[in-house]
Amino acid sequence: MKKRITGGMIFDAFNIFIMLMVIVASAYPFLYVVVASFSDPTELARHQGILLMPLQPFTLEAYKMTFQLPQLLTGYINTIFYVVVGVAVNLIMTTLGAYFLSMDGPMHKNIVAFMVIFTMYFSGGMIPSYLNIKDLGLMDSRWALILPGAISVTNMVILRTAFQNVPSSLREAAEIDGATIIQVLFKVMLPLVKSTLAVLVLYYGVAHWNAWFEASIYLIDKDKYPVQLIVQQLLSSLNVTEDIGDLVQYVELIRYAIIVVTTAPILVLYPFLQKHFAKGVMIGALKG
């Protein structure tokens, strides 16, 4: 028996085609970067059209050069420091603020709440903030990348909402048993908002991982640069004579290799992160 072709079927086929295009458009640039980084540079410059396999002769030259760039490793180590210490500071400060704002009792809670909300809408802007960092003596200090962004108000609101959603009977019961405010925080509240804390770790962590601009204006000593700033500088002005000797034809290739090397860790973590992030967006959207 022959089935009749309906409008719905045509639409379904068309829709699947569009989705395949979306997949190709999202993934092909990454594939291209990887493939290009292994390709012969002269062939690559001449090649036109779609690239799916490394152009022969296959070369590892770009990676040999990339791994010899000493800044890249220093940058990685620095970034790990900024992510770990930065997120720790973020979590401590955000928790303190959110916990206080979730309490019912304190008389001056509104003053603190007003302070926080006020800064969401009025800020000094780039130049006064920059001069402030100078004034505080944080120029060329690693703390200049950690302290100014210690609290994101949005994240604090998310955590405060999570605290408020803990049944108040639990808090009161602990208080009757003689627990202090600090004990209530550690023994009752924090264990109950673990999933929100995990989301905040991801939000803050990604922000530190991506940051480069603050480092470019606050840091002078290149040994303190995070990897993103190193990559930015390498990509925009790969110094041919200084960094890679006489391998001029490999400049493009090395750029591709640098992108692969710095993106690989994220791609490895991606399947794991993706699930949590998607959940996190919903927590932010529903509660925030």
């Binding site: 291209y32 000094g124 802007g125 130049i127 993706q274």
Partner: protein, 311 residues
């Protein structure tokens, strides 16, 4: 009156006695906000002064024209209209093309019959969201360079062999398209969540009434997510004058400032690269004031339309 005051002091002491530990806990937060948010706010008065780092903010002299010298200088300068035009052109292009893109993608994803294929498409399209701005812009720079594959593709249609980013007409399309590429997939999440909240019985009722899939989309699906669509539109409208400097800085070059330079990048160059602290702060304040007005207006509209404010 006196009674009131005594009463307040009384309550204050009681409050402190009972909650001193809570206040102690929040003290670092208060210090943080004062040092890193309120102190820079005080710093904006340098826009009305001739700030000299050696003399400090307080000692620096006020400028002419009731302290408005630098504001007038900016309004009269050649840059004012150019920056305004570029800022609006870039953000409106992002709005017109970037706002519907995730809605369309979410609707198409929603129509997919195979759950597995839907999952795969989602996972792949979320991927660019996890790549840092530096890397994304680095990739864009390579792809549109003289030998890049996008340039080579355009060469087939007669485009000259040159980097696309040296062509002032190409900057806005490159910026907008790379933005959509990086954000569209991830942007569907909020719409997919709204879609999953639509009552399935509505579809059954529509089917009984003889509505085909297109009619169902028009009369059930779209009204079901209209609240989210409007809120996302208003959020974007509210930030129409606040394009971040980071991505533009990673893509532009002096040859295309004509179309690529926006207020925030200009503030960066005149303030941090050229040390015109007072002038660039004045430009920044102008931008912030406009932003605040726009956000307030769209928040009012949002409250009227959806009964949910953005604030």
């Amino acid at each position: 009156m006196k009674n009131n005051k005594l009463n307040y002091i009384n309550r204050f002491c009681k409050d402190m006695k009972k909650y001193w530990k809570a206040y102690l806990l929040v003290l670092p937060v208060i210090i943080y906000f004062i040092l890193f948010h309120f102190k820079p706010l005080y710093g904006i008065i340098i826009a009305f002064k001739d700030y000299r780092p050696t003399r400090g903010i307080w000692e620096s002299p006020w400028t002419d024209n009731f302290g408005l010298k630098y504001f007038l200088e900016f309004f009269k300068s050649y840059y004012f209209l150019r920056l305004l035009r570029n800022t609006l052109r870039i953000s409106l292009s992002c709005l017109v093309f970037g706002w519907p893109a995730p809605i369309i993608l979410a609707l198409l994803l929603n129509e997919l019959k195979s759950e597995k294929f839907k999952k795969i498409t989602q996972t792949v399209s979320y991927l660019p969201h996890f790549i840092s701005t530096v890397i994304i812009c680095g990739m864009v720079n390579l792809f549109v360079s003289k030998n890049g594959f996008i340039t080579q593709f355009l060469n087939l249609f007669g485009y000259p062999e040159q980097s696309l980013l040296s062509d002032p007409n190409m900057f806005v399309p490159i910026y907008v398209i790379s933005n959509i590429w990086a954000a569209c997939g991830w942007g569907t999440i909020i719409y997919l969540a709204a879609l999953s909240g639509i009552d399935g019985e509505l579809y059954d009722a529509a089917k009984i009434d003889g509505a085909n899939r297109w009619k169902q989309t028009l009369h059930v699906t779209l009204p079901g997510i209209s609240g989210t669509i409007i809120i996302m539109f208003l959020l974007r409208m509210g930030s129409i004058m606040s394009i971040g400097h980071e991505k533009i800085m990673l893509l532009y070059n002096p040859g295309i400032y004509e179309t690529a330079d926006v207020i925030s990048t200009y503030v960066y160059r005149s303030g941090i690269e050229n040390f015109q602290y007072s002038y660039s702060t004045a430009v920044g304040i102008f931008n912030n004031v406009i932003n605040f007005i726009i956000v307030t207006i769209f928040n009012k509209i949002s409250k009227k339309v959806t009964e949910v404010g953005l604030w």
